[in-house]
């Protein structure tokens, strides 16, 4: 066994020890609205437990409460990790009900969705502050990653020393540029995938087992 492998195993055992003291590690799926967080959460949950986690939609803020899937065991190349996966509402600094009206919702429904969305964002921040042990940060790779929400959230995650994997999602889209996301967050491992189509999810599971195992 090489010295690097020994060091890696030692770190892994230490991390497992830390997580073990407080039960199964909770890995939060974070990111801006409509990045594909719930689609990814459903992909992971279906692949390893056979059950989905939540409803998916093109309308932003479909997920307005955090959902936890307990004891998801992911196995890859001899690495195995059991995690709780927490799908969180998309984080933003603004919510305008008019946006939902523009998607064809009735005004009353749009106002209600807006209210629930603001509660959901606050709830996601609470989870990050109190109850999350690691983060899968999901970005739409067809969009500019240099947004303030991304800057702030990754800063908050780093300030808490949480392990993080960046997901360049939606690589199946024609204008996807996962390289731009790698460039924006060079300090973190970036995995290009399509949660919708299942492209490159094998590498994702490998990285999850490595990063959080």
């Amino acid at each position: 066994m090489g010295i690097l492998t020994e060091i890696k195993d030692s770190i892994s055992q230490t991390v497992n020890g830390i997580f073990a003291d407080e039960g199964t590690a909770r890995i939060g799926i974070y990111g801006p609205p409509n990045a594909g967080k719930t689609t990814l959460a459903n992909r992971i949950a279906r692949d390893w437990t056979g059950e989905a986690m939540g409803a998916e939609s093109q309308i932003p803020h479909e997920t307005r409460r955090a959902h936890r899937k307990e004891d998801v065991t992911i196995e890859r190349d001899g690495n195995s990790v059991t995690l709780d996966i927490v799908d969180t509402p998309g984080v933003t600094t603004k919510v305008d009900y008019q946006e939902f009206v523009d998607f064809g919702m009735e005004e009353d429904d749009a106002v209600e969705r807006s209210r629930e969305a603001t509660e959901g964002v606050a709830e996601a921040m609470h989870w990050l502050k109190e109850d999350i042990d690691g983060v899968i940060y999901v970005l739409d790779s067809s969009l500019d990653p240099f947004t303030q929400v991304n800057t702030m959230l990754t800063g908050i995650i780093e300030s808490r020393d949480l392990p993080v994997l960046i997901i360049a999602n939606k690589v199946d889209l024609g204008d996807a540029s996962p390289g731009r996301i790698k460039q924006a967050f060079p300090q973190h491992e970036t995995v290009p995938i399509s949660g919708q189509e299942g492209d490159n999810v094998d590498e994702l599971y490998e990285k999850i087992a490595e990063e959080f195992g």
């Binding site: 600094t93 603004k94 919510v95 305008d96 209210r115 702030m152 800063g155 300030s159």
Partner: protein, 131 residues
């Protein structure tokens, strides 16, 4: 005494947009909630607030939470906030102890009045409209 430079107000002042530039000296003496109140009270009045030294990650987290509690369908729809991305990939322990990674100039305004046109690691370009 910290500097606070104000231009024409947003309401009843010729239709302009008031800009408050707040020095790091003024912010240094404030608690996290005082900073957040100062920012949100200004922004809710239609002002653009420029912080010389920005907020810590903890304060940014709190700012998002408090902003969410104040959004209402008939008025305030949230904030637009911009600062440069961090240059240091992995700030060292000294950076964290001395807070060097928090010192980013930050611009905050009403979401319905500011639109970011372009942002990268060296340039932020935005357009501000009157209410």
């Amino acid at each position: 005494m910290p500097e606070q430079i104000e231009s024409d107000g947003a309401d009843g002042n010729g239709g302009g947009v008031q800009i408050d530039m707040i020095s790091s000296g003024r912010m240094d003496g404030m608690t996290s909630m005082e900073k957040i109140r100062l920012i949100l009270d200004g922004v809710r009045d239609g002002k653009v607030v420029i912080l010389e030294s920005g907020l810590s990650p903890e304060e940014e987290s709190k700012l998002i939470e408090v902003t969410m509690t104040e959004i209402s369908p008939d008025g305030f729809s949230g904030i637009e906030i911009e600062s440069y991305p961090k240059e240091s990939a992995n700030p060292g322990i000294l950076d964290r102890l001395f807070g060097d990674d928090d010192s980013k100039m930050t611009v905050i305004g009403p979401a319905n009045q500011i639109e970011t046109l372009h942002k990268d690691s060296e340039l932020i370009s935005a357009v501000v409209s009157a209410r």
